[in-house]
Assembly symmetry: C2
Homo-oligomer: 262 residues x 2
């Protein structure tokens, strides 16, 4: 399971302030931390951009790439933000992302075909709903892959995100249980390896205490790793997340096991 | 994932001493603790018994059943020990267990047919070897289920144990990774639900510090729960194990989620 940092997000006040001031230093600092913790990629989410799209995205990506040489995940609902970003990425970018919603199919998905880029496909149906059960999820996954193939994006380029939901949602734990089953079954259902991604921060956003959120996130790291999730998107400033990820890699033969590393 | 206590084991010095002295009190105490932690079943392993088999097993089971009303797992390589135990169990017992080794097929497996009892089937091949990869394991599982059916034990009565190995074995983490994959795939491979069990204590027997062993065991509890293991056999005197099991049940919708329970 590879690590993708979700820290460069407009909801992070440090990011919002630095973007406003066009101060590259906070971006470099986040990027340096991602390098230090061996992140495979960094997700970049600047929220909706109204003006100077190309200038803004160029400023951020250049600041990041000064201190981080991994891949970038271009996370936006605006095709023009993603298109502007793709052109200046030094490593092959990941587009984040599309779903079966018509707008996404028409504006975001074509970028993956045009630039032959990897793209995240959310298991969200035509009406913008997250399916609840495993069967429904697998059906949405089939339609998603078919829609991509029709538009020139092969399954090898798709990274499926079955969308973790907050634990306190109505039936939230049933949703997340179905998500785990879905991740385990995708390869067999498609008869070929299909990559998967999950965003961890969603599950505990409303936790009453930081320690409880950390405990739940660490447990999910083990559960997702055992399900052979390919990419985990998470807060890399949280030490307990990194500890759990490292342990999962030791236990699942992704690193050489030794008790002193536990 | 249901809890089976492995504490009533001859390797536990308290058990060995109490058995020698025919002192029922330590057995009752273990049984009371199992009741307190809501164990689904208790594994009873008294090691090889040479004399007074019926007297010994009756003494232990009666002591246990005074304080624990769940199921008992009769864990022995001696058919006569299991047979003696079956007769006095108040709840349907689980026989632990058989494998493809000829001796086990001829002596232990027939007890499951005779008493229509659940039986643990170890994924160990005809030569007594644990298969390494997932494909090999699934092949052994097929032969195991077929051997049982031939002798009148249907798949519904079998609980497959793919055998966790110590993390420090040569390729131990590869073995355990394949075990997790196997558990996830069994239902699909057999086209029907097949129950599974795993014994947690094996993985960390040689850990250099108790805390490290606890950390590894807790991680495995999450990984096995996410794989839909049916029964986990573990040390219920270790609080960290119970905490991890409870959290896995909350997160996977086996209990009603609330942050105050985390």
């Amino acid at each position: 399971m590879l690590l993708i940092a979700d820290n460069l997000h407009i909801m992070n006040p440090v990011v919002a302030k630095a973007l406003q001031a066009r101060d590259p230093l906070p971006f470099k600092k986040i990027a340096e931390h991602c390098t230090k913790v061996n992140a495979y990629a960094m997700d970049i989410n600047l929220g909706p951009l109204r003006n100077n799209v190309e200038e803004v995205i160029t400023f951020v990506i250049e600041a990041v790439q000064d201190s981080f040489s991994g891949r970038l995940v271009l996370d936006s609902i605006q095709a023009e933000v993603i298109a502007a970003g793709i052109k200046i990425c030094k490593q092959p970018p990941i587009i984040n992302g599309f779903s079966l919603e018509e707008g996404k199919l028409q504006t975001i998905l074509p970028l993956a075909a045009e630039y032959q880029a990897d793209i995240v496909g959310f298991l969200i149906d035509e009406q913008g709903k997250i399916p609840s059960g495993t069967e429904e999820r697998l059906a949405v996954a089939s339609r998603l892959v078919a829609a991509a193939e029709e538009r020139g994006v092969p399954p090898e380029k798709i990274i499926i995100d079955p969308v973790l939901v907050p634990l306190t949602w109505q039936d939230g734990t049933h949703y997340n249980r179905a998500l785990i089953e879905t991740i385990q079954m995708l390869d067999q259902v498609f008869g070929q390896p299909i990559r998967t991604i999950a965003g961890l921060s969603n599950i505990g956003a409303d936790a009453p205490a930081r320690a409880k959120r950390q405990t739940a996130e660490a447990a999910f790291i083990f559960m997702l790793a055992a399900s052979h999730l390919d990419y985990i998107l998470m807060n890399v400033a949280q030490e307990s997340n990194l500890t759990a990820l490292n342990l999962s890699q030791l236990l699942l033969a992704e690193k050489v096991f030794a008790w002193q590393e536990v």
